[in-house]
Symmetry: D3
Subunit: 319 residues, 6 copies
């Protein structure tokens, strides 16, 4: 919906607060979202009796009108009700979702694991993924920023694998088994780092996510699993290093810097995929020949849409 339009629509409630204005009248202040993005909404003269009560994560149908307010569109709600089954709408239509099914992406990754020759790496990586096979199907890769979508964790992981296949073809020194297993496990503990809404979007960091972080959690998980499976110390140590070093620099959260080739390549490809995602996302929101605003996640750069090709935020993962 654009500014100065009115009508009906379905929305997912991302946040909702009951407030009282300066005249003492209660109103609802909500953030609504769909696949395209978010909008602020106000329901003036809110009455629980009349309008019902709402929580974050619920799907609603709203009638209202949109106006510009401080440079942002704002939806004035006239009517609101919860979605019912006869509306035929599905929550996954209201959250950004990876373009490929979780099953397809996990299948591709399992194929990669199958192709690993080193028996220790293969067994360890398989076990680590297997433990999370339910959550991994839909987990996002981030809170905000790159791949903050249902299935984003697999999407991001598989994109890096595709990049790494190209790298392995070119540089014979790269140990492909080690690189692939490192890629597959590097972000697995994002599953413990975030709390998720029922709709599958990150609502914030877990306590362990804040206090320990997915890098060190990942190392602890590998250590535990390797011990349980009788994997050699050295194999576990190499994977652990790749996980705790994959942010590259201490200031970006790496516990140590990458100290062997595959750890460095993982770190650089991780950054490359994330950057491509963030640049295309940012540029897709401005017109031909325009610049985006400063992007916090991209060192505060503005990005230019040169419009030589359509800007699609996508990786081809099925080829």
């Amino acid at each position: 919906m654009n500014a100065n339009t009115s009508g009906d629509g379905f929305w997912l409630i991302k946040t909702v607060d009951k407030k009282i204005n300066v005249k003492g009248a209660p109103y609802l202040d909500m953030t609504l979202c769909d696949r395209q993005g978010e909008m602020n909404a106000k329901l003036w003269d809110y009455s629980e009796l009349v309008h019902g009560s709402y929580e974050a994560g619920e799907l609603v149908k709203i009638r209202g009108s949109i106006s510009a307010y401080n440079g942002q569109n704002q939806l004035k709600v006239d009517r609101i009700r919860k979605v019912v089954s006869s509306d035929g709408v599905d929550i996954s239509d209201f959250v950004p979702t990876a373009e490929y099914s979780g099953e397809m992406m996990l299948g591709s990754i399992m194929n990669v694991i199958n192709g690993v020759a080193d028996p220790e790496l293969k067994q360890l990586t398989y076990a680590l993924v297997k433990d999370r096979e339910k959550e991994i199907l839909h987990w996002p890769a981030a809170f905000r920023l790159h791949h903050a979508m249902r299935g984003g964790l697999l999407y991001h992981t598989l994109s890096i694998i595709k990049l790494a296949e190209g790298v392995c073809r070119i540089y014979p020194a790269v140990d492909k088994d080690l690189l692939m297993c490192g890629i597959i496990v590097h972000d697995l503990c994002k599953i413990d780092e975030f709390d998720l809404s029922p709709a599958g979007l990150v609502t914030g960091y877990s306590i362990q996510g804040e206090l320990i972080g997915h890098l060190v959690m990942g190392a602890m998980k590998i250590n535990e699993k390797a011990e349980a499976l009788g994997i050699s110390k050295k194999t576990a140590m190499l994977l652990e290093h790749m996980v705790i070093a994959h942010h590259g620099e201490p200031e970006f959260g790496a516990a140590v810097r990458p100290m062997f080739l595959e750890a460095e390549i993982l770190s650089q490809l991780d950054k490359l995929d994330a950057t491509i995602f963030e640049i295309t996302s940012a540029v897709s929101e401005v017109g031909e020949g325009e610049f985006t605003g400063r992007q916090w996640a991209l060192d505060n750069r503005k990005l230019y849409n040169h419009a030589r090709k359509p800007v699609v935020v996508k990786a081809e993962l099925d080829k």
Copy 2:
């Protein structure tokens, strides 16, 4: 030659100085090199009459013995003479040289230019390469550090092209024409940035290399050539941006930060290829399970040789 051995050998003189010791006796202090590396050499009691006179860049035959001195091997010269044609040795055997011929690598790059659909980019890139077709065949990519070898400029360029082909397959938003042309021209002005010895190794930066640098020189060259060929301002500007931004960050020499997708990818792949080269070079000098010393060019990191694969300093460019 190893420590505590003696015998004959051919060497290239990299530097040579006539000095006088504390007793007043003259001696020659030289740096000799071959494909494997460098060594200090001393010719005590030097007499021009007896031994002849020598300059950097000459090939010589030496008889002498090697001993450890302050943790470095040092060659004590007993006899020395210049190489003669009957010795059958060739200068290119004494400098590090790319594994593929300049002609083969330039041919591959010309094929890539041929495949560019955009006529302006194709014409401009072709003309820029054509202007340097003689020097580019053997030019190194660096003074010290990555690809400081005969033919290193083409080697490095072609390696990035190979990486970029993988990236283009995965991300449909990438404009392949623009990316490939940016890669091909990004380091061309290294030809003006370095002074070269007759043997084809960089001896230092040129005055223009210091005062202007290959990034801005590259932009000026594109601007000039585009004007001459009647190429549109926009096309020239995009290539110029890619060249002056390819070091990524101002602190690494970028005049501006990359502001569109292809400029960013060029910058990251440039770094990826250089890093892989430097890590494999460094690791190839230590044994299994050992760490290198701190590498200045790699943020002062030590690198670990896990020895899961032979460490080869190489990119496969002929596949």
Copy 3:
């Protein structure tokens, strides 16, 4: 106009947006300016039929009243109309403008060029200025910050020349020809870096301004012109270096650091003039014995008005 006053006045519209308030009523949200500064204005219950339609850059007459709102004065518009010729007001009275005429300042600079002994520097500098003689008469030196005024580019350039004359008197090692020519050309490509409103104020950066920047654009222009005029490579290179180095440090946009005396002096005098302008501007807005707020452009410093002299934001350029 001060808070809590009402009356008539002429204003220049800097920005104007049509918005709709939470009750659905349309209103105009404008930024108005005159030589003293800017003010937000609201025209409630806006009707195009009744009030007419307006664009940025137009001069208008407004009746209204001013009140404090969130610590800022705000103008409530009662009546508005476009200026007509019989109003006798001129757009240059509504934008900050240099204290000296463009013609006078350009004349002084041409005199300096006339005094250059080195024929190459003289010819090259003259040609570069001549090419821009129309725009240079009124071009500002910045978007925001120092010398963001009509004629600011000449004002800033001439101020540095005056400073440099003092420096040349003191230090015999300084090559005055080179320093003066470097000063004259150092910011010339700000003419390509900004987009201008009809009123002569910067409205933002041009695309080339963002992607290339006025430093590298300047070097390309010198390179082009030197080639056309048959100027020696060395002369062009020295000027190019001064231009791409004049921001002093990479983090402030310099492509290289200054590497000879005149380049360093240009860089420091450029900063000195800009800083004096910014400090006097900031301090002129607070009373005796008071501090300004933190100034972003001055490393976040607060400045103190010691009030020992009247604070005038001015350079004496006609002596």
Copy 4:
């Protein structure tokens, strides 16, 4: 022994290399040490037959003379032989050693553990220390820098405990159980981080020490032990956080920054004890009213010996 003296003495060989001088004659180049420090030694005209062969870590008796060479004392060896039991010298007399016995210090720490009220923290901490009770008795706390001495790990740990007791008396918000247990386990994995010589001094980092580091190793050990003992996730997580955060800032190796009071206090007291040790060590080497050279480990500061009290490098741990 001072410069320009000669005579007999016992030394520990820290490093030993067989080298050949420029005249082709073999010699031994050694670093010798005793409790006071180190000295370079040369045995000219070395012959294995005549002098015997030596390894790092051996105790030797040497006759020779000391001279200044490049501002450092150097020992010219005339005679050398291995120590025999009748010499009555003990290796622990030749390495810097903590002032209290390992048994006494470990006893004090065990008392602290006994005083912990929280049963989970008590059990977990006890088990972690128990696992290392053999090594901990003599382990140093560092390679170079603070507490690089036999028993230094216990010495440093107990010093922090003493500091923490004072802090707990003053601030009622501090959870003493948590703080004490965090202190006791924070550096335990230094036992895995260093390789030790037979004499009990660190010879370098272990592979795991380089690739993982004692912070993340510590977290993995706690995680493993807590699982084995059935300790709650939360208790383990708090201790793990304290360990991976105790270096305070990412640039000093912390995987995360301290996020609760006890983690912050541990981090600051760890730094306080280390700094006091380093300052007193540095100052003890210069005379009254003098400054030390720049201390790399103390942000490159010079330190001043004001000589108001005797400079003793010591903590009182038995009170």
Copy 5:
């Protein structure tokens, strides 16, 4: 008072502004505070005749109701009047105040001075405190941040003394006289650095506070007093150094870095006490198991309330 409550209450006016809303109606916009914190208040349709006029620093009685507005509570004022003596309220009940009386804390500090053996240090420190004995009784230690409370300066000073007593017991190298005197004088010139409201809270920095700062002011005061009392240059210099170095690093305002042991310990303990105060303050505002927002004064960290103990913002100074 919580959101959505109404009733009567006493408040201290921290700031008050007369404003006019977009309809032209005047209103009062106030910040009110009591010991628990601050709240914004609006008095709509303000009339000086009806409501009276008010200034910052006055105590008032207000009837009104509280609602949430933009996530902050806001008080809508229905009635307001100044406090009269019969209300029986005291200004010190409305500003955060140290838990111990100024007299008790100053007494403890005088005892410490009495215990100093060095006659010069004792005389100098006594004289410096004596000069400020009136202001020191109630002065706060900061504008915002740690110990921004009546009596905060003594509270903070005495807390550091308690910490230092622990340190002196452990490390025999510490000169206790010097350390104690340094602690006592280190922040004394905060008395000149801040301007105070009648209620004893900092309203901002004094001109001298901004231009010179309490570190250099402290050094000048010591220098002056030492001269007057005939104290030796060396003693004065040591104290002066401790004062100008106590912020530890130039980026935190230290004029030099600490260069002897007692200066370093002062700097670290100063930071330790401040950090403990700030962490406990921040954590006391969130519930069990929650994180605070990012704390600007704590390197932008979030802090975790692990809730193992009650969070009290307090130091025990009477034991």
Copy 6:
């Protein structure tokens, strides 16, 4: 003297050490200097009886020969004796010395003080200079780096005054009295910061120079003198601020950043004069078209000798 020459010459001994070589023979290791620079010298087989004994700061006559050793010239001493009066050499011929006499420069500065209209500033500045009138005549401005010469302090101060006169002519907002007095006193306490050799060169920092620094010492001196003369607090405070802020940034030693116009101008002109001195010094040591090595004092830059003018390290102070 150049390499491979021999003969007689006079030298000043900068440092001298008696050492013993590996064969046990004593030798003298000296640093000698004259106005052109320094050289290492060795007197082999030194015998006090034969050669006499020597101390730093003595003038000697030496016969010997110069050879290159490790890229540096080294003087082998054959004969040495102390200078006698009949040699007719003067110590001031052997240390770098300002081009103008101390009396002439001090006279110029006294003229500037005479021209100050503000009676407080005039009286205070005069008194501060008068106190040091003996030392100021010959004091250097630095240990190493810019103006490390006899009379360098006056030379540097007068150069800045000349620069400032130009600035005052251009910008009417500058308070000339304040700026001139700030310049004259800004470095006065360098007289307390350095220890001097009899020859008038800095031998190192004084204890007070290290612990307090010339910036804070300067502020203390102004404070003391202003009190003694009954100068107003405000006048003293402005000068004190200029002194403690004149290094511009905390990382370069400023206790606060400059907060008014004259303080900022002082700081920038101080840097400008120092930079011009350092660039011309560095460039004067390389040939036409060459680059210097990296200059530590100039942000590690290399400097280029474009040779358009003779490189003279000089300021014209007598015009």
